[in-house]
Symmetry: C5
Subunit: 377 residues, 5 copies
């Protein structure tokens, strides 16, 4: 294995195998609902990923900004209904009451709340009386297991407040928070639609970074495939192909969703923000292009692998054939004069032995020359 | 075979082979009709799957609920036309009279009744004067034969009654019945359109469970394929691929059907229920996504299998080549000094034998070193 | 070859090869027209398939029905213009005058008549002043040559008469004639549009039977492929794939044609009949589904064949490797002590021979143990 | 090689290889223009294919017809503007002045003239004030090199004149000229739109003949592939696949073009002619169907080739394995008793030699029996 | 390797490998932006490709033309707002101020400016108050590394000025400049829309030249593949396939962009120019056709490679089999008479030795005859 491919300890491969097991798991979580249970009944379908739900509030206008950590969701409501813009970020979905409280307060449909909690939704946008819900997938790439980890992000966007729900702490929004704090750019002067755009933009930007990481892996694999087409390489190609399926499933509906947003089907989004959404939309198209290209590159890598393998086989066969073809006839002649017949006149001839050796050398040399002529050597 | 793959007794494989034989059978049942027989002539095209048709009635409104087992379909009509909502479930289609009686009573078109009885219809929705007919496919996964078993469910939905026709007893509606009995959720307060939605939702939910089961099987197979790419594994991959064709054929038209339902082409469906149907529609899209992803994963598994096989072949060839390449030349030299020429001066030399042995050891060792250098060992 | 695959005599394979030769022939017959000849010049492009054109008339209304065999097409015209419905069936297209006479009498466009005679048209529907023309493909499956035989059926449908043109006697309409004779169902009470529907329905129904036959063949082939992946099986898979291309070409435009008919683009078709056409349309979609599924199953069968072949190769190689790997080293040792050096001290040792035999047994046994450990035995 | 495949001299293969080299050349000729040269600058991009441009005029109405060979294009203009219909056919495009003169006289856009001269255009139709331009591809099949030769045909159609531009003499219009001369059919009584239709129809008809020729080649190849899967056959399959790409590229845009023509987007085309154009359109769809089918048949032939090759390999391996597996163990035993140990009691036993021979026969026979049982013999 | 394939020094392959590494890099450059940084913040994402930004101005009308090299962008503004048409070409994007200055002066949206600087955009067109922005990809083919090099070109087009931004000096516009200088054609008499068209046309024309170069490479590779299917050829095929992905990604959105331009969605484009844009649009469709065809030709080349490899393997196996099958049995017989049994009556027979030799010759000859009959020789 060449130096360009990061070596991976055996356990990480096992871990990847485990990661891989959840291909369907990462796509559907419905099975965990009791069949036939009432639609709109809220419960969280993902794995509980943290101990304690964390509520963070950023309340701002052009002039001032306030950051708080809340202990109950109800505390946020007075801010949310205040004159400034409030961004409430909820890390952790297992306390269903919080989602329900937000839903009841702002008239969000029970099914939409169910979607927030059911963490394997396709990206989508839905409109309510004066709110809209955007569901997105945050992705990250786990280097050790070479697998894509996805986390659902739901945004409930009202006139002057935005609730964002994540499955666990840790996100790609630190840059956005920094910009809010320092009042850089136009972020502090705009409404919640622009804030929502900024968050979406941060997510789509993060996809590019994942694609670059995967792209680097693929290219390292391609180099390896040429040097050493081992089964291990094949497994990794196969694994990455599978991860691309997960990625692909996230980005195709994303484009649709962003298309709906920028084409102005929602009255809450201003024309100004629409121009920016058009820009993220373009980026999402670029992400799709890249995903599809990488898929084709991976298919190409598999072809390389297969021709590498058959090339090796060819080489092995050539070695065997050369050796066998030279020595099997020679052994025959040696065997011939090892026979014990009483009347074998050659045996008594003085120069017979050197003559036979010469003959053998000529045969062997002739064969070698043939092989060289055929390009086998 | 690794422990993760459930072992299957030989007879189940035969059973699967039999199940497999019906790929076309599971898609069309038309051939059983006499060619040229009059359209709209009612007879049941499926296999008779039970002795006795079973009729169950649930009659409810917000305040009370009644459950009955009926002996004739006519008994249900007074309920069906009463003020409360009646759900009549018919298990078994071979008594054509029952279907005909319902059709005549509520003005359902003869062709629609034919579709109810012809049990390999594509999912579809059709509207009549004040009824609509929904045809769906209930699926289950037979673990022993690794095959998808499908059963047609037809719903005839009127203003205050819903008739559901199944081919045999056993369905995914127990949860719905429980919710009706206990009056949980909004089910008891809504009309037949919501009841129909609830039944459809239960079916689509059950698809997710089947996909999870198949997904687990596929992932177990993938592990096996890496360890032991036997023909048996190949056959199972092939079998699952075939089952995915059956599944796929059920879910693509389902999406269309649900699209028609939620887009509000039917006046019987209220706007409120439409929102819920939109949700099932989204789920059906997710099912399609998953089916297509699993198909790609299966193709990948087949690629893994093929490269596993050629890898094994390579290994076999290497062993043969190493052994033959080392010993065939050595045998030649042994044979050389086994010749019976009278004048072979080496034979009389005292140190010739140890010298030859040393020479042979060097040759053999040199070859081994070569093989190690080439990475064959 | 297992018992489930019907054995086929050698000559039928030759026959199939001949049948196969006409893949393009079965798709186009244009080449037989002199290049640049005037469009609308009528001549028959198919092979003459019978001696004598046969004209059969069925003239009916609700009350009575008359069946006649006519000697000239002109005899039919008085019936055709009479008050009852006349169905004139023409078996054989080589007497161009007959087609021309019908065309002139009922104002059918010369190009449409050319289409009737040119027997490799795609299914289509065309409208004229008060007639419409439907072109369909009747298919049958020749069991001996495993090939799909197609025959063009053209219907010229007027207000109270329907002319059907076939290339040769024998069709799938016996059931329809029976229903006409016995006055069963609604057929006698309806117009020519319903009669046309009935004929189309009979054809589409017959497709299902062909698909079932082919499906059975494919499944028998799949079983065989697993037991005995011979070249003969491969040829049959390939042959069936080719037949599926022919089938596919017939059914895709059929759907389009039926779609045009049921969507009500023709004023001659009543709303009542439209419902029935919708039903045939659904069936044609089912036919397409099945054709596409069978194509995928065939591709799967080819994959099975290829992995069966490489599996066999693997097995062959293993046998060779095991034998060679055990005996080549042993032969070397035997050769070693067959050398004639004067000073080989071992040769004189009393227990050397049994010791060597033991050593050889250990070597051989060790190798066998190795192979078993690798799972090669 | 079976008798059904025409043998081809070695040079024709070289010629084909040269023909093949122009795949891109046959698709684009733009590179020959100096980059950045002014658009609308007229020069001919094809190879000069003849010495002298040839101008032929046919001037006709219902009553009389005149055929002339002109020496300058200007001579044609008085005819073109006369009351009768004039068809001016120009063989050879390298005299740019001729094209320019026509363009200027009848107000054809400079870009359209550029398209006439740039001989690798996609089929298209363009409209000008009172003219329209149709660009088509005439194809022929060069039997010797098995390659499709394409030639661009441009029609400039005015009210009472039609200019047709070809790259070289020789076309598929002789039949049209005959019909004009003899006044058969409706050709003499119609306008230039019908003449244009007639020319297009002649071209599309010629496609069918090419497809039949290629179809026959493919089917002969398929037979050969089964008997003798040599590399030469593979090359020819590959070559035909490439030619299908050329064909495909010509026919897909043709359909579009004909669709535009018959759907009546051009006022110069009468409704009567439109019906005929609809007919050619249908034929072009049939051509596409056939091209796509042949492409699939070729893919199938390649699969057949590959399985033929691996089948042969299998057979070769079986022969090797049978021989080696029988004789290598036997040789070992012979070697064993060729050893020179002093104390080998068997050697002195009288019946040892025949016993060993019997033992060897049993071993050998047993192996043969094994191979027969496995179906290897 | 045949003479038609240019030999490439080993280092160029390494270079290509490096080029190849940037497949994703050539598609996205977003990752270089700090995640979450404000949209519309301008910085250049490409590699800095030159020391000094170069500003060139061409200011012209029908009567006169002036060419200048500017030192600051502000100098150009007075020209740009003057009565004549000004084309300002900026080579180098790393001085962000220049782009910003143009943007502010002419009211170009910040996001559009970001797109100008972010050099991996998909081709697109965007409209502003009285300007429009066109983003295109200039491609060139690096012969040494066999890779496609892409450079982004952005055009900001106003009423009487056009700003073109390139990443580095060197472009395909020299011909356009020449035509401007010499006042040839209609270029000097038209507006900026026509100038923009001319630049786009020059770019699309250059694509054809790249495709021809790649096409030649592919065809040379195809010849090589047949003679010598080495791993090196495979790698080059794979490399070209990858380059086609890059090309493809550039040309598909180009067609869309040109479609938007010619369909007249921008008021700044006159109807006259629209006709010309329609022409470039047609060329872009031709480029796509060619790219797709080349992709299929490359797939075909890979198939050729694979069958070439398996053909070689077959040949190698045949040689081995022939030699082994002839000599292994012969060796056995030689070994047989090398045994040391005391009672082997044949050994004492005088003619036994010549008889055995004759027998061996017959066996060997018979085998050779068999092989010839099977076509292995």
């Amino acid at each position: 294995m060449s130096a360009t491919v990061p070596t991976r300890p055996a356990e990480s491969i096992v871990a990847r195998a485990r990661g891989v097991r959840s291909v369907v798991g990462r796509m559907v979580s419905h099975a965990k609902k009791a069949p036939g249970s009432a639609p709109g009944t809220l419960f969280h379908t993902g794995r509980r990923k943290m101990e304690q739900v964390r509520l963070r509030l950023i309340d701002y206008d052009v002039d001032r900004i306030e950051e708080l950590t809340l202990s109950t969701i109800e505390e946020s409501f007075s801010y949310a209904e205040g004159p400034r813009i409030s961004w409430v970020n909820i890390d952790g979905l297992h306390e269903v009451d919080i989602v329900q409280a937000v839903g009841e307060r702002f008239g969000v449909h029970a099914l939409a709340l169910e979607d927030v909690l059911s963490t394997t939704q396709r990206p989508k946008v839905e409109e309510f009386d004066d709110h809209f819900l955007v569901i997105l997938t945050m992705l990250s790439f786990d280097e050790a297991t070479e697998s894509v980890v996805s986390e659902q992000l739901s945004l409930i966007v009202g006139q002057r407040h935005l609730f964002s729900f994540q499955e666990r702490p840790g996100d790609v929004f630190e840059g956005v928070r920094e910009r809010l704090r320092h009042g850089k750019g136009r972020l502090r002067t705009r409404g919640t639609d622009y804030l929502a755009y900024t968050l979406i933009d941060a997510i789509v930007d993060s996809y590019f970074r994942i694609l670059e990481t995967i792209g680097d892996r693929i290219e390292a694999l391609e180099d390896t495939v040429l040097d050493d087409p081992s089964m291990e390489v094949m497994k990794r190609i196969h694994g990455l192909k599978r991860e691309m399926l997960i990625l692909r499933r996230a980005v195709w509906p994303l484009r649709e969703t962003l298309g709906q947003l920028y084409r102005g089907e929602l009255p809450q989004i201003t024309d100004e923000t629409r121009v920016f959404l058009r820009d993220v939309y373009d980026h999402s198209v670029q992400v799709i292009d890249t995903v599809e290209t990488l898929r084709e590159v991976l298919s190409g890598a598999m072809d390389l692998y297969l021709s590498g393998v058959s090339n090796r086989m060819n080489e092995v066969m050539k070695v065997l054939t050369i050796i066998a073809t030279i020595f099997i006839p020679l052994s025959f002649f040696a065997g011939l004069y090892g026979m014990n017949f009483e009347y074998m006149p050659e045996l008594g001839v003085r120069w017979a032995y050197p003559a036979l050796l010469t003959f053998m050398a000529i045969i062997g040399g002739g064969m070698l020359w043939q092989f060289r002529r055929k390009g086998w050597l």
